[in-house]
């Protein structure tokens, strides 16, 4: 049930988040209070090494980035499954080892497929 348990060992994390947020917002607020406000056209331009920006800042990304991101997510999830396995590995023994080999072999098929389809190639 929510509202019955309090993770007290995460109190330092909470304090850290509060300090980090306060620091970020505090710097911005102090900046707005004390700085001079004299905006003009050149100052408000996006900085592009001193030349006037040309074209749209947001261009279409190549679909390759999507494949890379997708493969990253898949192997990220695979790596996540190895964490609890590594903790209980010595409790369960050889059976757990076979399970994980099977798991990795199935994903290895996907990895080889991606490799053969040249998903890792950039051009």
């Amino acid at each position: 049930m929510p509202g019955t348990y309090i993770p007290s060992e995460y109190l330092p994390v909470l304090i850290f988040i509060i300090i980090a947020t306060a620091f970020g917002f505090g710097a911005l607020i102090i900046g707005t209070v004390f700085r001079l406000k004299k905006p003009y056209y050149e100052k408000l331009l996006p900085y592009e090494s001193g030349i006037d920006p040309k074209g749209e800042p947001r261009t279409r990304f190549a679909v390759r980035f999507y494949i890379i991101a997708m493969l990253f997510v898949v192997f990220d999830v695979e790596a996540i499954f190895i964490y609890p396995w590594a903790i209980v590995f010595d409790k369960i023994g050889i059976f757990a080892f076979i399970e994980m080999v099977l798991f990795i072999v199935i994903l290895l098929v996907g990895y080889i497929y991606a490799w053969k389809k040249e998903a890792f190639q950039w051009d």
Binding site: R58, F61, R64, I67, A69, G110
Partner: protein
């Protein structure tokens, strides 16, 4: 009392952030609000005594899935929200369905009875650590779903390559 206060904060923050995600005009802002949303959901997992789930929420969702969303936004090159009449024109229908769903939720909440506590009590999980309990269960009792997961991930790899790679060739 303090537990309830935390839960109330997270419940309201998660609802509010979800609303912000779906109502922003700029899709990149939506993705950024979603990042904050994922962190709040991770904290909610902490309050459910599920540390490992909280860590996964941060690593996989805030780290991986969000990048995927951002790439989709940039791939499609959406500047402002897409207003397609086919999707936003059906206001009355949407409200009817939302109201019907709300009625179903309230009716099921009225007959809701908390299940008797299982063997995995807070004390046991605290003693053995959450990841250990999860691992023991997952690699013995729930072995079959675990192996199916690898097949689902395989489908995801092949699907992404089949969908995207064909365009690369041409």
């Amino acid at each position: 009392m303090i537990q309830q206060l935390f839960f109330i904060y997270f419940a309201f923050a998660i609802t509010g952030l979800s609303l912000l995600v779906v109502t922003r005009k700029n899709p990149v802002h939506s993705v950024l609000w979603m990042l904050l949303l994922f962190f709040h959901i991770a904290s909610l997992y902490l309050f459910l005594n599920a540390e490992f789930m909280a860590a996964i929420q941060v690593i996989v969702y805030a780290g991986g899935i969000l990048v995927l969303f951002l790439f989709v936004v940039l791939l499609m090159n959406i500047r402002e929200e897409l207003r397609i009449g086919k999707y936003i024109g059906a206001g009355p229908t949407g409200f009817t369905f939302a109201a019907a769903l709300l009625v179903v939720v309230f009716m099921s909440l009225r007959s809701f009875v908390a299940a008797p506590p299982g063997i995995y009590s807070i004390d046991l999980i605290k003693k053995e650590t959450h990841t250990m309990v999860l691992g023991k269960l997952m690699y013995t009792e729930f072995l079959y779903p675990f192996e199916i997961t690898s097949l689902i991930l395989l489908v995801a790899i092949i699907g992404a390559i089949v969908l995207a790679k064909r365009r690369l060739k041409t």
